[in-house]
């Protein structure tokens, strides 16, 4: 349910990792039946994960969800249209930074969280020992998207409610309810770990150039893949196969 919702939204995966890798790195398989004819495919693995600001492919996530740890279930309200993107200007509604505005720098849709730059921070003490008090790190705590923040209207820079509507061209946009202005999705949403804009990607030695990827070399032909390769390699088949039966 959540994966489908995540895929359908306009939110871009900043890490640019394949879905299969994210699932594989998170998976904890404790026991699995052998792939033999006399076994049914059964798996015993972890089903409940505690999602935090540590993303699910990191080692910290693995440490927080070690085998055997049982955490209380976190209730996450379903959100149909995800509406807060990286680079959005939002207004904070709770806490010591109430009323201030900031830019969203990280989106954690598994928990309906966003992290705003420079707001909602607190000091963390890490690395303390008996004779050493530890160091203090300033960390930004996440904010809940349904209760703690509000979008800012770009016409007057005030917080506003909004809804999703369609333009004449059929594009889905966020519209401020107070002024009717479209709140555009920021360009920062398209940034990933690998590039800032798609055309600013620096290609590597094993990458295929874009022109080669888009080149059309397929010619429709009445043959299977194997027949075509045989013809290409000059392999000739003169034998007539004997009749056989499939059952």
């Amino acid at each position: 349910m959540r994966l489908t919702q995540y895929l359908a939204s306009k939110l871009k995966n900043f890490s640019n990792l394949p879905k299969e890798y994210i699932e594989r790195s998170k998976k904890q398989v404790y026991w699995q039946t052998p792939k033999e004819i006399n076994y049914l495919p059964r798996t015993v693995e972890r089903k409940r994960f505690r999602y935090t600001t540590n993303r699910s492919w990191t080692g910290q996530f693995r440490q927080q969800n070690m085998p055997g740890t049982v955490r209380r279930k976190v209730l996450v309200e379903p959100i149909e249209d995800w509406s807060f993107f990286r680079g959005d200007r939002i207004e904070v509604l709770v806490g010591k930074d109430k009323g201030k505005q900031g830019i969203v720098t990280q989106v954690i849709p598994e928990r309906n969280w966003v992290i705003v730059e420079g707001l909602n921070w607190h000091y963390r003490k890490v690395g303390g020992e008996k004779e050493f008090p530890g160091i203090i790190i300033k960390s930004e705590a996440p904010l809940h998207v349904t209760k703690d923040i509000r979008l800012v209207d770009p016409s007057d820079l005030q917080g506003t409610d909004f809804e999703w509507r369609f333009t004449e061209e059929g594009e889905k946009v966020r519209v401020s309810l107070r002024s009717g202005r479209i709140i555009p999705i920021p360009e920062t949403n398209n940034q990933t770990h690998d590039y800032k804009t798609p055309n600013a990607y620096i290609e590597r030695e094993k990458d295929t150039p874009g022109a080669v990827v888009g080149e059309i070399t397929f010619q429709p032909k009445l043959s299977t893949f194997e027949m075509d390769i045989m013809e290409e390699m000059g392999i000739k088949e003169e034998r007539t196969p004997v009749k056989s039966y499939w059952y």
Binding site: V213, F218, I229, E232, P241, V242, S244
Partner: protein, 271 residues
């Protein structure tokens, strides 16, 4: 029609054998050294020249470039998409398959060696990118073969499968095999075939098995119902239409009258 289908299947099988044999027996073919480094992982980018790599019959081809050994991250593009592979010719798909195969072998070798030496394997998502590309390539090849067989013979040309019940009464997928004899003459196959299931023990097993499946479904439904109750308990003004769409199994309107969705406080309305 069936005869033509069998002929195509045999031809496809012979092609596969001949291709493998020819590839192994002829190491000096020109296609082998063509564009080994290119056609690796695509990205939509500026046009540039395609570069090639020389043939090195060396075990070190199973290992990555030396300059990547101690890196924390190796940046590569994304996997090939199905629509990008559909516009490529069979020859290029054939070449790309072997490029991806070599890359996958290299990555798995590096992963194994890094695990042995307790080193960090950089960018393990490369394995998944290569795997996705290979799956998409196989999808395109199967599409083309299926289209040919459907056009020529009216059948898909793939191995026939059928859903049958095994000796315990559970449904499994039976995959047909190729035989030289027709089924009514194949006494060995007739004797080894499983026909039907029954008996008191099997019926009791099926009863318990269906109860297990029903219990799993019932628990899942109860989990959804409890989740909806907790959401309404904490958010009394939650949009009911969203809940109805997200939880189709739960009767949201009936739950509105339950005592459990009432919290311990009076919610602040309009504040």
């Amino acid at each position: 029609m069936s005869s033509a289908l069998i002929k195509c299947l045999n031809l496809a099988k012979t092609v596969g054998n001949a291709t493998v044999r020819s590839f192994l027996a002829a190491p000096k073919q020109p296609w082998q050294s063509c564009s080994a480094a290119a056609l690796q992982t695509p990205h939509v980018q500026m046009p540039m020249q395609m570069h090639t790599s020389a043939v090195r019959r060396d075990l070190m081809e199973f290992f990555d470039d030396k300059k990547n050994w101690s890196e924390n991250e190796v940046k590569v593009g994304r996997a090939w998409r199905t629509e990008e592979l559909r516009i490529k010719s069979n020859k290029e798909l054939h070449q790309l398959w072997f490029v991806l195969l070599k890359e996958r072998n290299m990555l798995l070798t590096m992963e194994h060696e890094c695990n042995d030496k307790m080193e960090v394997f950089p960018s393990p998502e490369r394995i998944d990118k290569v795997k996705i590309s290979m799956e998409n390539l196989e999808t395109v090849v199967r599409e083309r073969n299926k289209a040919y067989h459907l056009l020529e013979t009216g059948e898909t040309g793939e191995r026939p499968q059928k859903a049958v019940k095994n000796a315990f009464g559970l449904q499994v997928s039976y995959k047909a095999c190729e035989h030289a004899l027709p089924p009514f003459m194949n006494l060995k196959w007739i004797k080894s075939r499983n026909i039907g299931y029954g008996g008191r023990a099997v019926n009791r097993f099926l009863l318990k098995y269906r109860e297990k499946l029903y219990n799993a479904k019932r628990k899942a439904k109860n989990r959804s119902r409890n989740e909806v109750m907790m959401i309404l308990r904490r958010n009394p003004n939650f949009d009911l239409d969203v809940l109805r769409r997200q939880f189709p199994d739960v009767n949201v309107d009936k739950l509105r009258n339950e005592d459990k969705i009432r919290g311990h406080y009076v919610p602040k309305v309009g504040v």
